[in-house]
Amino acid sequence: MSATVITVTSGKGGVGKTTATANISAALAAMGKKVVAIDADIGLRNLDVVMGLENRIVYNLVDVVEGTCRLRQAMIRDKRLADLHLIPAAQSRDKAALTPGDMIEVINQMRSDFDFILIDSPAGIEQGFKNAVAPADRVLIITTPEVSAVRDADRIIGLIEAEGKSISHLVVNRLRPDMVRRGDMLNTDDVIDVLAIELIGVVPDDEAIVISTNQGRPAVLENGSLAGQAFKNIAGRIDGQLIPFLDLNETDSFMGRLSRLFKR
């Protein structure tokens, strides 16, 4: 077994990197894959709370790099999914505690034990971002349909291309189909057109994400939410399955408006 290493990044903060990492990791594990999710946001760790594993932390990523503990000791097993693991970030350190070389070395040690290794990148384009991207086989760029987020995503794509890094895929997160239909939000095609990279998923804005984050249970493990389904689909596509995109009713046709009128 040799893992595929996927770094989740965005440039801008607050667009949903950590939520995407937690949900895609959980969805892959639910599909029977062996997965480890790594929080590379040193000093601002959050993947642990989103996954609901914050009470189990003893060691962290920096401890592994510094040799304070063995790799297996820093790996927290998920409560629900036996094949899902988390390596948390250090909270009381800063990004300078790691180098890109350290990251490549640590990741290479676990490649043979997993199918997928997901790395949650910090926001920004500095050291922390470089650490997170260094070991990546693939990069998932998360953006929202907003000018600032798309602009930052463009910058990140440029940097990843300059590094000679391979396949970048785009996730458009927190899309509001109602606003898109009214012409008050960039639609998915606008974002793809501007960024010119391949789309791997569109996740609608969904209250279920807030609720599942409150509870520390990734939305993909609960039934019924549209955002959860979108993340499951992304996980399936990462695994090479051909899954059609969700119909989020982005287009505003006369018939569409008519049918929504009667659905209310």
């Binding site: 794509i157 440029g158 012409g183 939000m185 639609n187 501007v194 006369f254 408006r257």
Partner: protein, 87 residues
């Protein structure tokens, strides 16, 4: 919203269109790291150089940065009136 607007989906300039236009402009500038000021200087110098060799129609010059995919492209459309007289 009038019934006509509802039927046609409205016809005003939408904020999505504004966002798209602003994004296109700012990304072209970001990618080549050229401020509007620098761009204006580039145009002036380009025109000056070309005018040394040929007579150009200064009223109808179009020099712009565009993007196609992930590539940026500097396009200059400069009508030439004729050869400059050399002495």
């Amino acid at each position: 919203m009038s019934i006509f607007d509802w039927l046609t989906g409205g016809s005003k300039q939408k904020s999505r269109d504004v966002a798209r236009d602003r994004l296109q402009l700012v990304l072209v500038q970001d990618r080549v790291n050229l401020s509007p000021q620098n761009m204006s200087e580039l145009k002036d110098e380009l025109i000056a150089v070309i005018s040394k060799y040929v007579e150009i129609d200064r009223q109808h010059i179009d020099i712009s940065l565009t993007k196609s995919g992930r590539q940026s492209r500097l396009t200059a459309d400069i009508p030439v009136l004729g050869a400059r007289q050399r002495y």
